[in-house]
Structures are given as C-alpha cells and as structure tokens.
Symmetry: C2
Subunit: 191 residues, 2 copies
C-alpha cells in the first residue's frame, strides 16, 4: 500500500538493532486516516474470503482490528497476554516468544469466541520473526476454525516470519514489506 | 445510550464481587456495530469541543479510541503500561492503582504526542474507582494540554470514580451508568 510506504519514509525512524519506530502514526499515536485506509485495504484483500472473526493480540493490533471490523462487519477479538480475573472459564492458550521484551508469554482467547464454524483473519501491526502470528495460528488450530490468512501493516522482510508463514501455505498480505534498513535507509520489497 | 444498556442486559454476566463481564461484545470480543455507535455517540457528545487528541490506556480502550477517532478525525493515543524498548525518549508517566490485578503500574505517553496546544478527550471501556482516568488526567496535566472530558462506555455508578471526577469539575459522559447489580439484576441510573 503506497500510503503505508510513504508514511514509513516520512515519519518512521530507524534505530540500532533493526528497530523501526512508527509510534507517531501506528502503535502509540494512531493516525485515523491511515487506520481507515488499512481497514479498507485489508477488506479489499480478504473481503471475499467469508471471514467471520478478526483475531489479533494486545496491544497494538487492537485498533487495527477494530477499525478493520467496521469494513468486514464481523467481530474483532484480541488475545490477552496475562491471566486476569476477567478472563475466566475455558480458554485456548499458546506460548509466544518475545524478542522485544525477552522471555515468553502466554496468549489466551475464550473458547466461546472461536468455533469450528469460524473463518479467521489474523491482523497485527508488525511481522518480524512471526512468533505472535504462530501463537495466534495455534489458538485458531485448537478451536477447529479455518485460518483465512494474515494481514500485516508492516513486515520486516529481512526477518524470517513472513517466509515461515508462507512456507506453511498461509496467505500473508503485508501493506508494506521492508527489504532493508541499512544505515537508516529504508527500502521496500516491491510486489 | 440505549443500545449499550440493551447489550449489557442481553449479553452481560454478573459475577461475584461486583464484576460485570462484557467480554462477548466490549473488551475481549468486540462488536463492530456497537463500536461504531459508540464512536458516533462520543462524537455527538464531544464533537463541538475542539478535540485534537483522544487518549486511552491499553488494552481495552484502544479499539474504542481508534474507532472514535474515525469520527473525530484526530489521532488516538494509548498510554503504555510497561517500559518497552520501543518507547524510549522523554515520556510523561503516572502511577495507576489496579484493583483488577492488585498492586499498581506505571502508564507512559511520549512527550511528542501531547503538547499545550492539545485538547484531549479521555476514553475507556470502564469507569469504576477512577484510577486509570486519574492517571491519564495526570499525564494531560503534565503536558499542559487542556482536558475536554472523559467518555466512558460503562460506568459503575455504585463505585466512586464518576463522583471523584465530576467533583473535580471534569465532564464525564458514560454511555451506560450501572446503578446496581444486586443478585445479578442490573439496574441503570437514568439520565
């Protein structure tokens, strides 16, 4: 999506360790026009796939999923990262490795919200090593729902997540795929 | 908002300890029609107040703020709950007591996203004791921005948060105010 590439070039900041900061428009402050266009684009890509649930993981994916849900007309669900008093009952759970924070954490979704009748589209802000997506795919598999694919705002094409998912036959659509960020210079993989 | 009251009566579940579970439509699975109507209603209530930023705290408020931002046409920001590698630089920080999880946590917003020129509307899914809202108000005060008010999906009117905020002169608009939940029977405070 040209708008996403333009916004990354305009407002993204490259930091040491292949970190791309997009907190002014995507995952801390969130631009309403960009979010709307992301929602429309995910719907253009996956709108014909009979999606019944959008699934993401807290926190940065929640806004993307909720705005996209306005176009899909189906519920959005976010997997929770911590056991809370408000998430009792039966849950699907999966482990996710965290490279940002170190260690791993558990994600959980109530069994009431994913069933074998569902067709699930996964959404998230970033795809890097793919650990969050693999965790969400695990939840979907446990539920017996069908996985439609993954919609990603920004894929780090130089890390292995996208390849890992596509090798498993998962349809991955990323609105911008970063090929490299050498010396702060961002290049995109062309479609 | 009648739709919110109806949805609480239809799908809300009252648990021990004055806990109201609304995870099937508000804060785990999120209903797109309800979210749209919430966004419209917050805009009807606060659209004339010159709001330049919507501010919430992760995680459940993020979707509400992002969908509302579609109507306000201004950015949404979520305060982060943990220090991460991706939130460096100068931040406003405040302490929030957690009654759900016990203890307290720190919320942070980058100083780049709140300035004295901003007019800020706070949004969240629940208002109970008011600790999250007081923390967000602290961040706004530190930034020198103007506080427009608080938009809340569900206020527990039998807890002190709403009174505390209104006594400080804050405009609080709650889409449903629960008066009581005795023996699982939910009653609303009428406007």
């Amino acid at each position: 999506m040209l708008l996403m590439q333009q916004r990354i070039l305009q407002d993204g900041v490259v930091r040491e360790g292949n970190i791309l900061k997009v907190d002014s428009f995507l995952n801390h402050q969130m631009d309403p026009v960009l979010y709307r266009e992301m929602g429309k684009e995910f719907y253009r890509l996956f709108g014909g796939c009979g999606v019944t649930k959008l699934l993401t993981v807290e926190a940065s994916g929640i806004g993307i999923a909720c705005v996209a849900a306005q176009y899909f007309g189906c519920p959005a669900i976010f997997a929770k990262k911590s056991r809370t008093k408000n998430l009792d009952g039966e849950v699907y759970a999966a482990q996710v490795e965290s490279y940002t924070h170190g260690g791993s954490y558990t994600i959980r979704v109530s069994k009431r919200f994913l069933t074998p009748a569902d067709r699930v589209l996964l959404l998230d802000d970033f795809l890097a090593r793919g650990s969050a997506m693999l965790g969400l795919m695990d939840l979907v598999a446990q539920s017996g729902a069908a996985l439609v694919g993954c919609g990603i705002a920004i894929e780090k094409g130089f890390q292995e997540g996208g390849r890992l998912l596509r090798e498993r036959g998962v349809r991955v659509e990323s609105l911008a795929v970063i090929q490299g960020m050498d010396q702060g210079h961002i290049t995109f993989r062309e479609e």
